[in-house]
């Protein structure tokens, strides 16, 4: 079996027993990236081809590949291993990092022209912890500009394609990270999730992606979109790999004032305990109208599977879930309009010259931001402006309380809640870009957990055909939501389901992702 097909846990075991070196593992992934991803494999940092030069066979998961640094890091780990040094549990395993987290030595663009070429002078806490754990970063992944989007089509550097079907989107905003893991261009990746930006791309690419409890993974060095919702988390091809990666990056950080100063749960201790005796709640409001028949059918079979595994299925209601999306599309743009004020042509990135500072600010932002970012900055600026704040941001924050209360009540009747992750399977490139609200509806099932701050993950539940293409077989995600700080329970349910389903997270039948 090719090294790129192995899980992070398998690679870590092989590395620990000296069956393979970290350098060999990194090289296998770099070779595959060079062959399939649409990068120019020259120099210390490989760049993605310019958008106009990308062709329809390029996955385009990476914006920058830190090839030289990754090889050097791998060799250092190999030397330390031979010398008998104590190494981290995933030492030498490669990882793809979403381009919204800072890392020295390579650009951080957030998928935006306004940050083109900016090289950050410091590492994010997540980056620092990965380095301390001897995980090798392969590069920075493509994303919707400033994480605003559900398809990765809002990247200024061209869209990422779904390894299952290169004519379809990988979801977003962490579509590059998801496509890297699904396309065997990395066994692990870090994404960020504000309203579903890890879970929805995980669902659409047939992998595991988790949004941890808000506040348990530091936001220091994560370029802010909506500060009260942004949370970094893992992508992997197995539940155990995702739990192990989250374990490495979680924990209190005094450099993030919203970081939760409490112990986070051990995610691995009871991972294999099964679902026997657990109450699994289905949510009345997160099914029905708007969900594709193939998604609903796959979800129904997932419930039967959980029941067969010994879970008790109960139905619960989140009466205010329907208000989640309207609240989200006030809160997130409001916070974004404030956070993105820092991109003013003064401290980093692009500047468009003009006679006065104010004109320079406005010209720079007009040239540097894409249409979706402008749209959200405008919504947020309006929602926070004098006379509107109470009716919009404050009212949306009250709805957020109602949704959090709904979850508290639901978790008295059920230990975890499940739903489809996304109402649709992966859709065709360009099919939803003209209608902003149609695109926003992708987040309908993921936003409630974001507003409540609770942990939620997506794992493969099976495949279904796209409604417009009956012969297709595309991944469907199952979302598992757990109470605050019960990320362990979420992983435990997911692990039991995964073992029973035996889903093969390898896209088949397409030359771009065929195994060499």
């Amino acid at each position: 079996m090719d090294l790129t097909q192995r899980s992070a846990t398998e690679l870590a075991d092989q590395l620990a027993s000296l069956d393979v070196s970290a350098r060999e593992v990194v090289d296998a992934h770099l070779d595959r990236i060079a062959a399939l991803d649409g990068v120019v494999p020259d120099g210390e940092v490989w760049s993605a081809k310019a958008p106009d030069d990308l062709d329809e066979r390029d996955v385009h998961a990476y914006l920058h590949v830190t090839a030289a640094a990754a090889r050097e890091h791998a060799e250092e780990i190999d030397r330390r291993r031979v010398a008998g040094d104590e190494l981290g549990p995933l030492a030498g395993v490669p990882l793809a990092l979403k381009d919204v987290l800072t890392m020295q030595g390579a650009p951080t663009t957030c998928g935006s022209r306004i940050l083109e070429g900016w090289v950050p002078p410091y590492d994010a806490t997540v980056t620092e912890r990965l380095r301390a754990a001897d995980v090798v970063v392969l590069g920075k992944t493509n994303m919707d500009e400033f994480a605003m989007g559900s398809s990765t089509e809002n990247s200024a550097y061209g869209p990422t394609r779904n390894p299952w079907d290169l004519g379809r989107v990988p979801g977003g905003s962490s579509g590059g990270s998801a496509a890297a893991v699904a396309g065997l261009l990395a066994p692990l990746a870090i994404g960020t999730d504000t309203g579903g930006s890890i879970r929805q791309p995980a669902a659409l690419t047939g992998i595991v992606g988790a949004k941890p409890t808000y506040g348990t993974v530091s936001r220091y060095g994560l370029v802010a979109f909506a500060s009260s919702l942004d949370q970094a988390g893992p992508f992997a091809r197995t539940v155990e790999d995702a739990a192990r990666l989250q374990t490495l990056v979680q924990g209190h950080d005094p450099r993030d004032a919203t970081s939760v100063p409490r112990d986070v749960p051990d995610l691995l201790a009871r991972l294999r305990d099964g679902v026997g005796g657990l109450r699994v709640g289905t949510v009345t409001e997160l099914q029905g109208e708007g969900y594709e028949p193939g998604v609903e059918e796959t979800f129904r079979r997932a419930l039967e599977r959980l029941e067969r595994l010994g879970a008790e299925i109960v139905e619960v209601s989140l009466p205010h879930a329907g208000y989640g999306l309207p609240a989200y599309y006030l809160i997130a743009p409001s916070e974004a309009s404030s956070n993105l004020a820092r991109f003013d042509g003064v401290r980093y990135g692009l500047r468009v010259d003009a006679p006065t500072s104010e004109e320079m600010n406005a010209a720079t932002r007009a040239a540097g931001f894409g249409p979706e970012v402008k749209r959200r900055v405008m919504i947020g600026t309006h929602a926070l402006s004098s006379g509107y704040y109470d009716a919009y941001y404050l009212q949306a924050s009250r709805v957020r309380t109602l949704i959090a209360r709904d979850f508290e009540a639901a978790f008295e009747q059920a230990d975890v809640l499940v739903s489809p992750t996304s109402p649709t399977v992966a859709f065709g490139l360009g099919t939803k870009t003209a209608d902003p609200i149609a695109m926003y509806l992708n987040d309908v099932a993921t936003v409630p957990a974001s507003l409540a701050g609770i942990p939620a993950l997506s794992l493969p539940a099976g495949t279904a055909a796209a409604p417009e293409a009956p012969g297709t077989s595309l991944p469907v995600g199952l979302q598992v939501m757990a109470p605050l700080l019960r990320d362990d329970l979420m992983y435990r349910v997911a692990w039991a389901f995964e073992q029973d389903l035996a889903f093969t997270p390898l896209p088949a039948g397409d030359a771009a992702v065929e195994v060499a």
Binding site: T258, P326, S357
Partner: protein, 98 residues
Amino acid sequence: VALSSDEVRHVAMLARLALTDDEIATLAPQLSEILAYAEQVGEVAAEDVPPTTHPFALRNVTRPDERRPSLPAAAVLAGAPAVEEDRFAVPRIVAEEA
């Protein structure tokens, strides 16, 4: 409520975005539609419901008042579009007197 082109222009000024007339014309109906959708939040949550911004309601987060090294100025200035005398350089802020 539909936003007029003038209202969209006012918001663009507040947001420091030099939008073109075409962009204004595209955004006016889009923003109106999105805000009409978002206004559903007014249907629930009376004033006695407190707002939530963090699931753990942290208050007064402080750290010890200790001196710590900061980033070297040269590293920070290296990413700036214009620098003069170890400072960020910007165009004129105050208009010349007539």
